[in-house]
Amino acid sequence: MNLDFTPEENAFREEVRTFIAENYPAALRKAQDEGRPLTKDEYLMWHKVLARKGWVAPGWPKELGGTGWTPTQKYIWSEETARADCLPILPFGMSMLAPVVYTFGTDEQKQRFLPGIYNGDVWWCQGYSEPGAGSDLASLKTKAERITGDDGKEYYLVNGQKTWTTLGQYADWGFFLVRTDPDAKPQSGISFLLVDMKTPGITVRPIITLEGGHEVNDVFLDNVKVPVENRIFHENQGWTCAKALLAHERSGIAGVARSKRNLEKLRTIANTERSDTGSALLADGFFRRKVAELEIDLTALEFTELRTLAGESSGKGPGPESSILKIKGTEIQQRLQELALEAVGHYGAPFLRDLSGSNATVGPDYADGLAGEMFNGRKTSIYGGSNEIQRNIIAKAVLGL
């Protein structure tokens, strides 16, 4: 047991750092600095640079385009990309769908869908939750019936409503959980379908969230015809795919490297802001203790994640323990957002996406949008299986209760 990096690992860190410095798209950097919502093209800029380099899919098996990095290299990669404020690669295709396709899909499906994900040519969205099926995902009602089309081919006719579809407004394709056997037990009658979002009968409607942003959507499916060959794995066994995907979603959710970066930013803000006595806020006894406690919490999470990664590299997939990472990771992200908002005092209040359209800030630039981020950040303990559900998973699957 040791924590040292080898000379090779340090060289790798140097290589990554240089690559980012030389190749991170300037236009994307500018858009991020302006803090405005990104366009579809901007979301994909960094993805495409990495695809060309061969570094976009560190989590994939090497033969499919993965990097073959060791867990330590992956750790260095996530640290360096977070340190440089690189836009995270969108997870929907890359880390949610792709593992399902390469684990459960046919060779034909792998060839058909993985390159588009890898190259960032196809934008994927998730069709899991429904208005009546959130924590109880298996109660989903969106119905898919087998029909024979006019062309003589086999289709599923899909009807229902999905919700909380993140960035679905840009999606080319979606992966959907649908009920193919209404009479089976909830988990047994579900299938996993890939749906072209341009298929007639699909309507994507924005949901505006409490901070005023448009990130999530309702997706309505009205007699949508999906070719049967777009089903991954067996009919009525989609729940197996769904569970595998959720475990992957959870392990990525810890966001340790990002939180470390945000902690650095918090320290910078708290060193700039003044306390009531005029000293740096970070010198204020109350505030510095909260920052110190958070750093310790984050260190505990980091080492828990490293232990999990080490386990994965020895062949275990992400297990129910990944729920620990989800719970602690999201709690820490939320705490960081709270403290950043707290740090800026009065200037947390202005809402600068001003009604007259002016974007000029008042107060320090770093205060801009912090309240919105804190409000929006409440979603993290709700999505991907709420933190209450994660505790149920640990109770049942880990503790055997």
């Binding site: 806020l281 809402f351 709700i382």
Partner: protein, 380 residues
């Protein structure tokens, strides 16, 4: 000992509640705050003329209802329940408070204007680098003949876009953060040299950055004693905090009630989610937070008139309320799940207001430090 309300106070509550039920539902409020001017002058007019509540804490001889902090508390709690954005706090509690306590020669006239709905006040005290320290002032007023010349920048002045008058704290002597050397002025917002940048706030209110450039003030602009205005500022701010705690109680009650209601009708796994013990206990903890907040709000509003006990009581209440705002607000969203994240549902708007109240006139840390000092003395 008696925690009951008088008949007049109960009537006041009923009058306000009935008016808000008819004129201030969530959709109406949402439509108003998202467009200019961000409030309804006709509602203010009704407060003055139809309800007569703008006189609640003023003496009868000035045309008021003869009440005090308890009347403000009653009104503010109802306002919290409806997320009222009209500037009662800035005008009646703070503007009125300064005028009442200062013995200013023009006080009776100005208060008359408040009661009639003509005079609207905003409190310009915070500064970009002052955090929550009321004495950390870079804004200056220099003696100029019989009057003064005012220069400076005030941050996030709530309700300033609606105001006719500003109450401004400024340094007239002494060094930065000295308790001595602070004076309070009343400044007409339209005065030469006053400029504002108006903007909405994240909780649906409106505020301004206010800049003073060589603003000439007459001798009568001074409220309270020259150079020794801090005790008056602290007194009025404590009254404002006590009233804000009452608003928080209204907000917290709605957050808790809304969550109970939602979890009873939301079904997952074939049952209402309110049947899960882990959520029941969470809602019990929310309830305890709300009840403790109400208790501390009563305590603070009773003691706010006693100058010996006021500061400690108010800071204690604000600590309790700040913690309750965070716990109840965040858990209300959590228990609503994704629905709590939507702009469409009222719950998120109560959460945003609760979050802003948490740090209004000082965060939990600020008031905990003040309480520590008042109760335990200087740390070694």
């Amino acid at each position: 000992m008696d925690f009951s309300f008088t008949e007049e106070q109960s009537m006041l509550r009923d009058t306000v509640a009935a008016y808000l039920a008819d004129h201030y539902d969530f959709d109406k409020r949402r439509a108003v705050v998202t467009k200019e001017p961000g409030w309804r002058p006709e509602v203010w007019k009704a407060f003055a003329e139809e309800l007569g509540i703008l006189g609640a804490p003023f003496p009868e001889e000035l045309g008021g209802l003869g009440g005090g902090p308890i009347e403000n508390m009653v009104v503010m709690e109802e306002f919290g329940k409806a997320l009222v954005v009209e500037p009662y706090l800035g005008t009646v509690v703070i503007g009125g408070g300064f005028l009442k306590h200062s013995g200013h020669a023009g006080a009776a006239d100005l208060i008359g204007g408040i009661i009639e709905g003509r005079n609207i006040f905003a409190f310009a005290y915070a500064e970009p680098k002052g955090r929550y320290n009321l004495a950390a002032l870079e804004t200056t007023a220099k003696k100029d003949g019989a009057g003064w010349v005012l220069n400076g920048h005030k941050a996030v002045v709530l309700g300033a876009p609606f105001a006719t008058h500003l109450i401004v704290t400024a340094r007239t002597a002494g060094g930065p953060r000295d308790a001595q050397g602070i004076s309070v002025f009343i400044v007409e917002k339209g005065a030469k040299g006053v400029t504002t940048r108006d903007y909405p706030t994240v909780d649906g209110n409106r505020a301004s950055e206010v800049y003073f450039e060589n603003v000439s003030l007459g001798a009568d602009a001074l409220i309270g004693p020259a150079d020794n205005g801090l005790p008056l500022v602290e007194k009025v701010v404590d009254e404002a905090i006590a009233a804000t705690c009452a608003e928080a109680c209204g907000v917290l009650r709605k957050l808790h009630e809304g969550t109970l209601e939602y979890t009873k009708q939301r079904k997952q796994f074939g049952v209402p989610i309110s049947s899960f013990q882990v959520l029941q206990h969470r809602m019990v903890d929310m309830f305890i937070n709300v009840e403790q907040a109400v208790s501390m709000t009563y305590m603070a509003n009773i003691k706010v008139t006693d100058d010996a006990e006021r500061a400690k009581a108010v800071s204690a209440a604000k600590v309790q309320i700040g913690k309750a705002c965070r716990f109840v607000g965040q858990n209300a969203i959590q228990l609503h799940g994704g629905m709590g994240m939507t702009d469409e549902m009222a719950i998120g708007h109560y959460f945003k207001r609760a979050t802003m109240i948490e740090t209004a006139f000082g965060s939990v840390d600020h008031h905990l430090a003040r309480y520590e000092f008042l109760s335990l003395g200087q740390a070694a």
